[in-house]
Protein backbone atom coordinates (compact mmCIF):
# COMPACT_ATOMS: atom_id res chain seq x y z
CA UNK A 1 0.00 0.00 0.00
CA UNK A 2 1.30 3.45 -0.88
CA UNK A 3 1.59 6.32 1.59
CA UNK A 4 -1.27 8.27 -0.01
CA UNK A 5 -3.55 5.23 0.15
CA UNK A 6 -2.52 4.57 3.72
CA UNK A 7 -3.28 8.16 4.72
CA UNK A 8 -6.68 7.99 3.05
CA UNK A 9 -7.52 4.80 4.94
CA UNK A 10 -6.27 6.27 8.21
CA UNK A 11 -8.38 9.37 7.66
CA UNK A 12 -11.45 7.28 6.98
CA UNK A 13 -10.97 5.30 10.18
CA UNK A 14 -9.54 8.15 12.27
CA UNK A 15 -12.52 8.67 14.59
CA UNK A 16 -13.09 4.98 15.13
CA UNK A 17 -9.37 4.53 15.77
CA UNK A 18 -9.40 7.32 18.32
CA UNK A 19 -12.39 5.74 20.07
CA UNK A 20 -10.60 2.39 20.16
CA UNK A 21 -7.40 4.03 21.43
CA UNK A 22 -9.43 5.72 24.17
CA UNK A 23 -10.88 2.37 25.18
CA UNK A 24 -7.43 0.71 25.17
CA UNK A 25 -6.06 3.55 27.34
CA UNK A 26 -8.90 3.36 29.87
CA UNK A 27 -10.41 6.63 28.64
CA UNK A 28 -7.17 8.55 29.18
CA UNK A 29 -7.40 11.26 26.51
CA UNK A 30 -3.72 12.25 26.54
CA UNK A 31 -2.48 8.69 26.45
CA UNK A 32 -4.92 7.80 23.65
CA UNK A 33 -3.58 10.68 21.53
CA UNK A 34 -0.02 9.57 22.20
CA UNK A 35 -0.83 5.97 21.28
CA UNK A 36 -2.56 6.96 18.07
CA UNK A 37 0.32 9.21 17.10
CA UNK A 38 2.79 6.39 17.72
CA UNK A 39 0.65 4.07 15.61
CA UNK A 40 0.52 6.52 12.71
CA UNK A 41 4.29 6.98 12.98
CA UNK A 42 4.82 3.22 12.88
CA UNK A 43 2.64 2.91 9.80
CA UNK A 44 4.22 5.82 7.91
CA UNK A 45 7.75 4.68 8.75
CA UNK A 46 6.87 1.16 7.64
CA UNK A 47 7.53 -0.45 11.02
CA UNK A 48 3.96 -1.75 10.96
CA UNK A 49 3.03 -3.14 7.55
CA UNK A 50 -0.36 -4.15 6.29
CA UNK A 51 -0.06 -7.47 4.42
CA UNK A 52 -3.72 -7.95 3.59
CA UNK A 53 -4.19 -10.97 5.86
CA UNK A 54 -7.22 -9.30 7.46
CA UNK A 55 -9.24 -6.17 6.74
CA UNK A 56 -7.40 -2.88 7.16
CA UNK A 57 -9.62 -1.93 10.10
CA UNK A 58 -8.92 -5.18 11.95
CA UNK A 59 -5.18 -4.83 11.35
CA UNK A 60 -5.14 -1.16 12.41
CA UNK A 61 -7.06 -1.92 15.58
CA UNK A 62 -4.66 -4.76 16.43
CA UNK A 63 -1.70 -2.37 16.00
CA UNK A 64 -3.42 0.22 18.22
CA UNK A 65 -4.07 -2.39 20.90
CA UNK A 66 -0.47 -3.62 20.92
CA UNK A 67 0.89 -0.08 20.98
CA UNK A 68 -1.45 0.86 23.81
CA UNK A 69 -0.19 -2.08 25.88
CA UNK A 70 3.46 -1.10 25.38
CA UNK A 71 2.70 2.61 25.98
CA UNK A 72 0.88 1.69 29.16
CA UNK A 73 4.04 0.02 30.44
CA UNK A 74 6.03 3.16 29.64
CA UNK A 75 3.41 5.37 31.28
CA UNK A 76 3.77 3.38 34.49
CA UNK A 77 7.38 4.52 34.61
CA UNK A 78 6.32 8.08 33.86
CA UNK A 79 3.77 7.95 36.68
CA UNK A 80 6.48 6.82 39.06
CA UNK A 81 8.48 9.90 38.07
CA UNK A 82 5.41 12.08 38.56
CA UNK A 83 4.94 10.91 42.11
CA UNK A 84 8.34 12.51 42.69
CA UNK A 85 7.10 15.70 41.00
CA UNK A 86 3.50 16.18 42.30
CA UNK A 87 2.97 19.47 40.45
CA UNK A 88 3.39 17.79 37.06
CA UNK A 89 1.11 14.94 38.04
CA UNK A 90 -1.65 17.35 39.08
CA UNK A 91 -1.41 19.11 35.71
CA UNK A 92 -1.62 15.79 33.93
CA UNK A 93 -4.66 14.67 35.90
CA UNK A 94 -6.42 17.94 35.10
CA UNK A 95 -5.64 17.41 31.43
CA UNK A 96 -7.00 13.89 31.56
CA UNK A 97 -10.17 14.84 33.32
CA UNK A 98 -11.06 17.47 30.77
CA UNK A 99 -12.99 15.16 28.39
CA UNK A 100 -14.74 13.47 31.30
CA UNK A 101 -16.25 16.78 32.28
CA UNK A 102 -18.11 16.78 28.99
CA UNK A 103 -19.89 13.60 29.99
CA UNK A 104 -21.00 14.77 33.35
CA UNK A 105 -24.18 16.15 31.90
CA UNK A 106 -25.24 12.63 31.11
CA UNK A 107 -25.63 10.74 34.37
CA UNK A 108 -26.35 7.44 32.63
CA UNK A 109 -23.28 7.78 30.48
CA UNK A 110 -21.16 8.55 33.50
CA UNK A 111 -22.41 5.41 35.27
CA UNK A 112 -21.91 3.39 32.13
CA UNK A 113 -18.28 4.48 31.86
CA UNK A 114 -17.66 3.66 35.49
CA UNK A 115 -19.25 0.24 34.96
CA UNK A 116 -16.99 -0.29 31.94
CA UNK A 117 -13.96 0.53 34.07
CA UNK A 118 -14.84 -2.28 36.46
CA UNK A 119 -14.67 -4.87 33.66
CA UNK A 120 -11.50 -6.86 32.96
CA UNK A 121 -9.66 -5.49 29.92
CA UNK A 122 -10.52 -8.37 27.56
CA UNK A 123 -14.23 -8.17 28.35
CA UNK A 124 -14.21 -4.41 27.93
CA UNK A 125 -12.34 -4.69 24.64
CA UNK A 126 -14.65 -7.27 23.11
CA UNK A 127 -17.75 -5.28 24.09
CA UNK A 128 -16.24 -2.13 22.64
CA UNK A 129 -15.32 -3.83 19.37
CA UNK A 130 -18.75 -5.41 18.94
CA UNK A 131 -21.03 -2.62 20.12
CA UNK A 132 -19.00 0.51 19.44
CA UNK A 133 -17.11 -0.47 16.30
CA UNK A 134 -19.76 -2.85 14.91
CA UNK A 135 -17.22 -5.60 14.35
CA UNK A 136 -18.18 -9.27 14.24
CA UNK A 137 -16.96 -11.57 17.00
CA UNK A 138 -14.50 -13.15 14.58
CA UNK A 139 -12.95 -9.77 13.72
CA UNK A 140 -12.90 -8.83 17.40
CA UNK A 141 -11.06 -12.08 18.13
CA UNK A 142 -8.52 -11.22 15.41
CA UNK A 143 -7.95 -7.76 16.86
CA UNK A 144 -7.54 -9.15 20.37
CA UNK A 145 -5.36 -12.01 19.15
CA UNK A 146 -7.53 -14.68 20.80
CA UNK A 147 -9.64 -17.56 19.48
CA UNK A 148 -13.25 -16.93 18.53
CA UNK A 149 -14.38 -19.23 21.37
CA UNK A 150 -12.45 -17.20 23.87
CA UNK A 151 -13.82 -13.96 22.42
CA UNK A 152 -17.37 -15.29 22.69
CA UNK A 153 -16.80 -16.21 26.33
CA UNK A 154 -15.42 -12.76 27.12
CA UNK A 155 -18.38 -11.24 25.30
CA UNK A 156 -20.98 -13.19 27.30
CA UNK A 157 -19.26 -12.64 30.62
CA UNK A 158 -18.66 -8.98 29.84
CA UNK A 159 -22.32 -8.39 29.04
CA UNK A 160 -23.45 -10.10 32.24
CA UNK A 161 -20.93 -8.28 34.37
CA UNK A 162 -21.68 -4.91 32.80
CA UNK A 163 -25.35 -5.32 33.53
CA UNK A 164 -24.63 -6.39 37.11
CA UNK A 165 -22.35 -3.40 37.66
CA UNK A 166 -24.94 -1.02 36.24
CA UNK A 167 -27.63 -2.53 38.44
CA UNK A 168 -25.41 -2.23 41.48
CA UNK A 169 -24.67 1.42 40.73
CA UNK A 170 -28.23 2.42 40.28
CA UNK A 171 -30.62 0.48 42.46
CA UNK A 172 -33.65 0.94 40.30
CA UNK A 173 -31.74 0.65 37.07
CA UNK A 174 -32.36 -3.08 36.60
CA UNK A 175 -36.04 -2.80 37.36
CA UNK A 176 -36.40 0.12 35.02
CA UNK A 177 -34.52 -1.78 32.36
CA UNK A 178 -36.73 -4.85 32.72
CA UNK A 179 -39.83 -2.67 32.74
CA UNK A 180 -38.79 -1.10 29.48
CA UNK A 181 -38.05 -4.42 27.83
CA UNK A 182 -40.99 -6.40 29.25
CA UNK A 183 -43.71 -4.02 30.53
CA UNK A 184 -46.24 -6.79 31.23
CA UNK A 185 -44.00 -8.72 33.64
CA UNK A 186 -43.42 -5.89 36.14
Amino acid sequence: MEIAQLKAELERLHRASFGWALSCCRRDFGEAEEVLQTVYLKIIEGKARFRGEASFKTWLFAVIRKTAISEHRKSLLRKMKMTINPRASRERILGVEKPDAAFERSETQFRFQRALETLPSLQREVLHLVFYEDLSLRDAADVMNVTIGSARQHYQRGKRRLRESLERMETGYGIEWRRKENPGAV
Binding site: K7, L10, E11, H14, R15, F18, G19, L22, F29, E33, L36, Q37, Y40, L41, I44, E45, P99, A102, F103, S106, T108, Q109, F112, Q113, L127, H128, F131, Y132, K159, L162, R163, W177, K180, E181, N182
Partner: protein
Protein backbone atom coordinates in the same frame (compact mmCIF):
# COMPACT_ATOMS: atom_id res chain seq x y z
CA UNK B 1 -27.74 -11.26 14.40
CA UNK B 2 -30.82 -10.20 16.37
CA UNK B 3 -30.05 -8.27 19.52
CA UNK B 4 -31.70 -9.08 22.82
CA UNK B 5 -32.94 -6.48 25.32
CA UNK B 6 -29.62 -6.28 27.18
CA UNK B 7 -27.67 -6.00 23.97
CA UNK B 8 -29.90 -3.24 22.62
CA UNK B 9 -29.42 -1.25 25.79
CA UNK B 10 -25.64 -1.75 25.75
CA UNK B 11 -25.50 -0.78 22.10
CA UNK B 12 -27.48 2.38 22.81
CA UNK B 13 -25.02 3.31 25.57
CA UNK B 14 -22.04 2.59 23.33
CA UNK B 15 -23.60 4.66 20.50
CA UNK B 16 -23.99 7.56 22.89
CA UNK B 17 -20.37 7.14 23.92
CA UNK B 18 -19.26 7.07 20.30
CA UNK B 19 -21.05 10.31 19.53
CA UNK B 20 -19.36 11.94 22.53
CA UNK B 21 -15.94 10.57 21.50
CA UNK B 22 -16.34 11.84 17.96
CA UNK B 23 -16.94 15.28 19.37
CA UNK B 24 -13.66 15.29 21.28
CA UNK B 25 -11.57 13.44 18.69
CA UNK B 26 -8.69 15.54 17.28
CA UNK B 27 -8.91 16.54 13.62
CA UNK B 28 -7.10 14.16 11.32
CA UNK B 29 -5.11 16.76 9.38
CA UNK B 30 -3.78 18.52 12.47
CA UNK B 31 -3.03 15.18 14.03
CA UNK B 32 -1.18 13.96 10.94
CA UNK B 33 0.85 17.20 10.76
CA UNK B 34 1.97 16.69 14.36
CA UNK B 35 2.85 13.09 13.58
CA UNK B 36 4.89 14.08 10.54
CA UNK B 37 6.74 16.77 12.47
CA UNK B 38 7.53 14.15 15.10
CA UNK B 39 8.79 11.94 12.29
CA UNK B 40 11.21 14.68 11.21
CA UNK B 41 12.46 15.16 14.78
CA UNK B 42 12.82 11.44 15.40
CA UNK B 43 16.22 10.78 13.69
CA UNK B 44 18.02 13.32 15.94
CA UNK B 45 16.81 11.57 19.06
CA UNK B 46 17.80 8.25 17.64
CA UNK B 47 21.33 9.47 16.81
CA UNK B 48 21.76 10.93 20.25
CA UNK B 49 20.77 7.72 21.98
CA UNK B 50 22.90 5.73 19.56
CA UNK B 51 25.87 7.98 20.35
CA UNK B 52 25.37 7.51 24.06
CA UNK B 53 25.18 3.76 23.57
CA UNK B 54 28.45 3.75 21.60
CA UNK B 55 30.20 5.86 24.25
CA UNK B 56 28.94 3.55 26.97
CA UNK B 57 30.15 0.45 25.12
CA UNK B 58 33.59 1.98 24.60
CA UNK B 59 33.83 2.96 28.26
CA UNK B 60 32.92 -0.57 29.38
CA UNK B 61 35.39 -2.12 26.93
CA UNK B 62 38.20 0.20 28.10
CA UNK B 63 37.45 -0.56 31.71
CA UNK B 64 37.46 -4.30 31.05
CA UNK B 65 40.78 -4.08 29.13
CA UNK B 66 42.38 -2.00 31.89
CA UNK B 67 41.14 -4.45 34.53
CA UNK B 68 42.49 -7.44 32.60
CA UNK B 69 45.89 -5.74 32.09
CA UNK B 70 46.11 -4.91 35.78
CA UNK B 71 45.20 -8.47 36.72
CA UNK B 72 47.88 -9.84 34.37
CA UNK B 73 50.47 -7.50 35.87
CA UNK B 74 49.71 -8.55 39.44
CA UNK B 75 49.69 -12.30 38.65
CA UNK B 76 52.92 -12.31 36.55
CA UNK B 77 55.28 -10.92 39.27
CA UNK B 78 54.29 -12.37 42.65
CA UNK B 79 57.75 -13.89 43.36
CA UNK B 80 59.60 -10.64 42.84
CA UNK B 81 57.10 -8.84 45.00
CA UNK B 82 57.57 -11.22 47.93
CA UNK B 83 61.36 -11.52 47.82
CA UNK B 84 62.39 -8.57 50.00
CA UNK B 85 60.21 -9.66 52.89
CA UNK B 86 61.41 -13.32 52.73
CA UNK B 87 65.14 -12.68 52.47
CA UNK B 88 65.20 -10.09 55.25
CA UNK B 89 67.79 -8.12 53.34
CA UNK B 90 67.41 -4.36 53.37
CA UNK B 91 66.77 -2.79 49.98
CA UNK B 92 69.18 -0.38 48.33
CA UNK B 93 66.84 2.55 48.79
CA UNK B 94 66.63 2.08 52.58
CA UNK B 95 70.37 1.54 53.04
CA UNK B 96 72.27 4.70 52.09
CA UNK B 97 75.65 3.32 53.34
CA UNK B 98 75.76 0.47 50.80
CA UNK B 99 78.30 0.97 48.01
CA UNK B 100 75.70 0.41 45.26
CA UNK B 101 74.08 3.67 46.16
CA UNK B 102 77.14 5.76 45.46
CA UNK B 103 76.89 5.21 41.67
CA UNK B 104 74.57 6.89 39.21
CA UNK B 105 70.81 6.46 39.37
CA UNK B 106 70.55 4.15 36.33
CA UNK B 107 73.42 2.01 37.60
CA UNK B 108 71.75 1.47 40.96
CA UNK B 109 68.50 0.57 39.20
CA UNK B 110 70.32 -1.99 37.03
CA UNK B 111 72.03 -3.48 40.09
CA UNK B 112 68.82 -3.71 42.08
CA UNK B 113 67.12 -5.39 39.09
CA UNK B 114 69.94 -7.97 38.80
CA UNK B 115 69.85 -8.54 42.51
CA UNK B 116 66.10 -9.16 42.53
CA UNK B 117 66.46 -11.57 39.57
CA UNK B 118 69.14 -13.49 41.43
CA UNK B 119 67.02 -13.67 44.55
CA UNK B 120 64.04 -14.84 42.54
CA UNK B 121 66.16 -17.63 40.98
CA UNK B 122 67.45 -18.68 44.40
CA UNK B 123 63.96 -18.76 45.84
CA UNK B 124 62.76 -20.86 42.89
CA UNK B 125 65.64 -23.33 43.35
CA UNK B 126 64.91 -23.61 47.06
CA UNK B 127 61.23 -24.34 46.35
CA UNK B 128 62.18 -26.98 43.76
CA UNK B 129 64.57 -28.73 46.19
CA UNK B 130 61.90 -28.78 48.90
CA UNK B 131 59.44 -30.33 46.47
CA UNK B 132 61.98 -32.97 45.34
CA UNK B 133 62.72 -33.93 48.94
CA UNK B 134 59.03 -34.32 49.62
CA UNK B 135 58.63 -36.49 46.49
CA UNK B 136 61.56 -38.68 47.55
CA UNK B 137 59.99 -39.28 50.95
CA UNK B 138 56.69 -40.24 49.34
CA UNK B 139 58.42 -42.75 47.02
CA UNK B 140 60.30 -44.29 49.93
CA UNK B 141 57.09 -44.75 51.90
CA UNK B 142 55.36 -46.30 48.90
CA UNK B 143 58.16 -48.85 48.47
CA UNK B 144 58.03 -49.79 52.17
CA UNK B 145 54.28 -50.35 51.94
CA UNK B 146 54.70 -52.54 48.83
CA UNK B 147 57.34 -54.73 50.54
CA UNK B 148 55.37 -55.19 53.75
CA UNK B 149 54.13 -58.73 54.52
CA UNK B 150 51.94 -59.93 57.32
CA UNK B 151 53.70 -61.78 60.21
CA UNK B 152 51.19 -64.68 59.90
CA UNK B 153 52.02 -65.36 56.24
CA UNK B 154 54.65 -68.00 57.24
CA UNK B 155 51.99 -69.93 59.20
CA UNK B 156 49.82 -70.29 56.08
CA UNK B 157 52.59 -71.86 53.96
CA UNK B 158 52.90 -75.73 53.64
CA UNK B 159 55.01 -78.32 51.83
CA UNK B 160 52.27 -79.01 49.23
CA UNK B 161 52.06 -75.41 48.15
CA UNK B 162 54.19 -76.18 45.11
CA UNK B 163 51.78 -78.87 43.87
CA UNK B 164 48.83 -76.52 44.24
CA UNK B 165 50.51 -73.62 42.55
CA UNK B 166 52.34 -75.42 39.66
CA UNK B 167 51.24 -77.29 36.53
CA UNK B 168 52.73 -80.57 35.13
CA UNK B 169 55.24 -80.01 32.32
CA UNK B 170 55.24 -81.95 29.05
CA UNK B 171 58.79 -83.22 29.43
CA UNK B 172 58.06 -84.89 32.82
CA UNK B 173 57.93 -88.72 33.03
CA UNK B 174 54.80 -90.76 33.88
CA UNK B 175 55.62 -91.24 37.55
CA UNK B 176 56.04 -87.55 38.06
CA UNK B 177 52.79 -86.87 36.22
CA UNK B 178 50.95 -89.39 38.41
CA UNK B 179 51.52 -87.20 41.42
CA UNK B 180 49.05 -84.71 39.85
CA UNK B 181 46.36 -87.35 39.17
CA UNK B 182 43.73 -88.29 41.78
CA UNK B 183 44.52 -91.50 43.63
CA UNK B 184 42.93 -94.64 42.12
CA UNK B 185 42.69 -96.53 45.46
CA UNK B 186 39.03 -95.51 45.83
Amino acid sequence: MELSGDEKRIQALFSELRVADERIAPRFNAFMNRTESALIRAPRGFNLSFGWAVVLIFAIAALAWWGAARFRQTTSSPVVATIPSMTNEPSDETDPVRPGNTGSNSGSKFLSKNRSNLLARRLGARRRSVMLAANRKVLKDAKAIAKWTSPTTSLLSSSTDEVLTSLPQLNQNANQLKSFLPSSSN
